[in-house]
Amino acid sequence: MARVVVNVPAQAKRGEVIEIRTLAGHPMETGFRRTQLGELIPRDIIRTLICTYNGAEIFRAELHPAIAANPLISFTTVATESGTLEFRWTGDNGFSATQSAAIKVV
């Protein structure tokens, strides 16, 4: 599986807005580049990042070739309850990567 990084605070106060930062290893081949021989290199990118919080979807991003290689996506969510955040990246050619992070809400 591709290398991914997920940064979620280990602990937060109930109701606090927390920042979540994610990074995924992927070349994000745009589909607009050509080889030395002039042939088009087909597009191969991550298309979606979905984050769920104890099963409920809290964030979804649709990525396009204009996202830089090794995509960084940061967003926020309200710390509602202790539990697990699950992250799933999916993309072209069956690309799939997952990561989870636990959070304690006090």
Binding site: F32, F59, A61, E62, A66, L72, F75, T76, V78
Partner: protein, 153 residues
Amino acid sequence: MISRRTFLLLGVAASAAHAQLPPNIQEIRKKALDEAIRKVVGNAQVRQGKVKLDIPPLIDNGNAVPLAVEVESPMTEADHVKAIHIFTERNPQPYVVTAHLGPRAGRARIATRARIGDTGTVMAIAQMSDGSFWSDSVRVIVTLSACLEEGLI
């Protein structure tokens, strides 16, 4: 008088054969940008305001441009940002990213690193829960490396 479709196909064929862009590339890209925005916004008016697009006006390298978008919104069930759409004017295609938010976000703020191919405008459009659209745009200058090595390792 050739049809627009034929003209575009000729342009694509020329691109494939010689890797050159058709002479009216700016017009084609502007049309693609307008259409992409229209797909999101429909006939609604897009107003300037509430949205802050944070992107360096002078870009070291267009391959990775850090940007952030923040939208003023209470992010309650009744009044929140449903989605943030980012577009750019001078790339081969206009879409950058669409982030779907909601009241659980707490704050309407996203950050990423984009590819900006050429000097031009980057635009962020916020889609609100009440059906309104707000936007911010920044004109950026992209510099190219002095010595390009075409992927030499």
